[in-house]
Symmetry: C2
Subunit: 624 residues, 2 copies
Amino acid sequence: MQPCFFALSGVLPREEALRAIRESIEHNYRRRGTAVVKRNLAAVDLALSELRRVRLPARADSSLRRRSVISEPVPDFVSRVTARLLAGEGDRLPVSAFPVDGTFPTGTARYEKRAINLKLPIWDASLCIDCGKCAIVCPHAAIRMKAYAEKELEGAPEAFPHKPFRDRELTHRQLTIQVAPDDCTGCGVCVDICPARSKEEVRRKALRMEAAEAHRQREREHFEFFLDLPEQDPAELSSLGQVKHAELLQPLFEFSGACAGCGETPYLKLLSQLFRDRLLVANATGCSSIYGGNLPTTPWAKNPQGRGPAWANSLFEDNAEFGLGILLAREMHVREARRRVGELADRMPANLAKELLDAEQTGAAAISAQRRRVEELKAWLMGMGAGSPGAATLLELADELVKKSLWIVGGDGWAYDIGSAGLDHVLASSRNVNLLVLDTQVYSNTGGQASKATPRAGVAKFASQGRSVPRKDLGMIASSYGNVYVAQVALGADDHQTLRALLEADAWPGPSLVIAYSTCIAHGIDMKHSMSHQRDAVRSGFWPLYRFRPGLEAHQRPFLLDSRKPSLSFAEFARSEARFAMLERANPERARHLFALAQADIEERWRLYEQLAGIERTVVHEES
Amino acid sequence: MQPCFFALSGVLPREEALRAIRESIEHNYRRRGTAVVKRNLAAVDLALSELRRVRLPARADSSLRRRSVISEPVPDFVSRVTARLLAGEGDRLPVSAFPVDGTFPTGTARYEKRAINLKLPIWDASLCIDCGKCAIVCPHAAIRMKAYAEKELEGAPEAFPHKPFRDRELTHRQLTIQVAPDDCTGCGVCVDICPARSKEEVRRKALRMEAAEAHRQREREHFEFFLDLPEQDPAELSSLGQVKHAELLQPLFEFSGACAGCGETPYLKLLSQLFRDRLLVANATGCSSIYGGNLPTTPWAKNPQGRGPAWANSLFEDNAEFGLGILLAREMHVREARRRVGELADRMPANLAKELLDAEQTGAAAISAQRRRVEELKAWLMGMGAGSPGAATLLELADELVKKSLWIVGGDGWAYDIGSAGLDHVLASSRNVNLLVLDTQVYSNTGGQASKATPRAGVAKFASQGRSVPRKDLGMIASSYGNVYVAQVALGADDHQTLRALLEADAWPGPSLVIAYSTCIAHGIDMKHSMSHQRDAVRSGFWPLYRFRPGLEAHQRPFLLDSRKPSLSFAEFARSEARFAMLERANPERARHLFALAQADIEERWRLYEQLAGIERTVVHEES
């Protein structure tokens, strides 16, 4: 734009203006390397060579209108409020149009179809190995899998792709991997991670990126049919410990506005699949609060029964406390509901009270059974009428009798810095809370400032010469409490370990902390390779995977090192990310110095972890 | 008072009132045990039996006046302002009497002589073994030692006690241990800790408590003479690593208003002896901010040259940051002072600039030398006159050229809870700060609320049934940074280790954290045994002593366990402190449960520490 403006406007003599632009490019991009300077200079030349005169007609006579981003049909609230906000007409809405208490309906991101992609992943059923990796890594829940009985294919669009699902547990099913063509951002992470290759043609995978417009219309029809295929009942699965089983479940976090290739959102999507309609999320300020509740829509969604996660956002500085408050309120509600069930027990249908109060609620099937009992209780309470003492209150509280999973979520700016005192206090509380840190090692949403999670040698705002000190080892700090479950995970490096960690964290009755490596545009990488960067972070020992599991028997080892001894040097890993590589270009001597220190950090930490992994628990004591 | 009031007043029938008082005693003190109930009942009976009629004269004709607490002679400010505030006449002072910037002169607690003691420690020179333990443990700097040449005894009061000082370094000296008879609180800690006993009569120690009034007048005269004996020059000592050498130095923290037997103040007094007039203290809110700056007086004091520590108090929630800010300002001042010395170097007396800039300043002698150079610089700058460019600013900054030692001080409420995020941030800064945590394991000053430092099974406010979770291991958390010097100390258990830790913390050029076990009235102990309780805390493994020393060579072990394997059970230790024992009386079952868990905590932590003590540093890398 700039060269074209100065070429046309006559503000400065054309050659003088262009010389100044070129000098400014050389000056500003020098530290990013010669290639970047050259590409910017080439862009100037290309812009000038493509400058064309366009003659405007006397008046606009086009009949084209901007396509509405809303996909019909939509629920009433979306049509009355959400759609008008999206259309930029929010200031025309009366105050009375908004929810009285600020609670917005969930599952609204699905109505916003922006179709921003130029390419789409196309599935080749003949090569697919049913692993589910494409689905688990997708940052936008825009590629999904379903396994269903063959009869469901009745009425399928022509050429709707499917293949037999190879699985010991779910037998006689057909598998379809389906893209949401207007929600996919075309980031390419699914294709990058796909491990299934043709034997004949080794570069051919079960997924490949193709021009979106050649496939969009057909994929829309396929996606519509796919949505109508039955959702997987979690109670049908003996456990969720396998990626391909977890990924059969409906994501209740879909189509967020996060960056294409975002490394954070896959963790949240996975949470929504594992804990579904019993998930409560307290979300700190940061990227996740923006894409999580980017008014007027939210990616947090509902299952076909209309239930899903409940989500709220608090501040940077108090989110852990906020989540703890939610837990305390819930504990009070549960106690009160149980007390009232006890009081009314004699008058209830046979065994209902006893079953409600004694339900173990371990596993999806048991939780479903409890939900059915709660429905029965509610029906019975409604039959009693509002006049019955205690019935109205119990009706309000009845849903609390179903087990919940509370997750306190935020980025490293929250967990390592601004909210760290609260996080520490909550970890020390011994309460059954789960904390998930989406660790991008930098304040991503506010513009890339260094946090205490920023690694040595990493360039960030406030650390423009590379951070000189090692990052804070939050996991080790938390494990010093002894009764806190701690896991350090990286989905792109080991999806199975991530899955186990989230399930174990939920199952541990005390505090749990999962620290999740999250690739970010602030790392200066091609986000298509988001997940392979995670693999290299782990291979270099830069991000070791581990789990610290309290509550074990004596002579078991609570600290488990889940990744292998480093096999890649820090420098090799670092050179593939601009946050490190730019230091090498700008200040090679300092880069050499800091890279050596970072390598030494890795070696020393690895040895410490190895030793910790050898330490047995000496005595058994209950946690209280 | 209460029984006597009801016996006389007729508000209730006498017997009814006394019965109600007795019942209330039984109800309120039951959980403290039968002995406490009996003692309270006996107090009621004794009060009634000692009730005497006193006839008042028609008018008061006494010529006695309340003794002024101020000891003359005093400096001008003390006489104009401090004395009037102490006399309760603060509201008669004009605003103009107060310092413009809120800075108060130090060394003023010495003018406030309250003589609250009923007993005094009396020294038996014939039994003394010169160890210095009485001086190092004294919470009020009210017992001191000096070693001096025999000629100094000229003009001594009759019977001024002294003995030859047995020392390899300071030879041909006389030693006197002297009490400050009007400042001593009579707590008895010095006598309790004194290890020197008569061979003939084993209960006879080198110090014994005697009725204060029998000795006060003589000890006043002795103390006055003692104060005039020359103060020990620190430059005369090769190191301060021995207790008896450190204790020869003048305490610059004296006569605070802390509780008799306070476990915190000996650490601050020791800091003032080790770092003297180069000590800067940033003090969090808490006990130490109250006794540290209890307007109008302060125990922070000055040496005969008029120099001493500088002290300021900030908030509970920002004290670590406050201290870091002081450091950053100082670093800026030092850079600016050095720059200006460089600019004026050619015009200065020969070599002065070079010596000022190159001074190593390790050890007291080197620092004294630098101070002399700074005096020379200041004299030269004054000779240049105010007109000389740069001279006036350098004159203001010149004192910054002397090395300082910055200590950020506070209690566990600050360090573990309210100020923990700031503490963490400052530890992560890699700056040369020192942090001292006076850990009483409870919010002492605000009334005994539980903090995250409160141990499992400890009774405190908000933990009235004994705290159910283990205490936060702040030292382990800090050591996870890898470049933070960490020590856990207990003066009463190992004074030599405490001394070393403080010296090592000061010497380490990065952040240092010293966590100091501080006995407190909130522990429910006889404070006379303050120091022996610390010994038992260590012997039981409840408070292991250790040091984590970064910056070592490869194949050295940074983690050093300084105390021995536990030889006392937790229950034995706990039963000697009311904070634990009251749980056993009030709820024996829960006490049994929590004591067992606390014992398990100790065993598991001990084993972890043993393992850590075996881990070598693998690689050497500079800290930057």
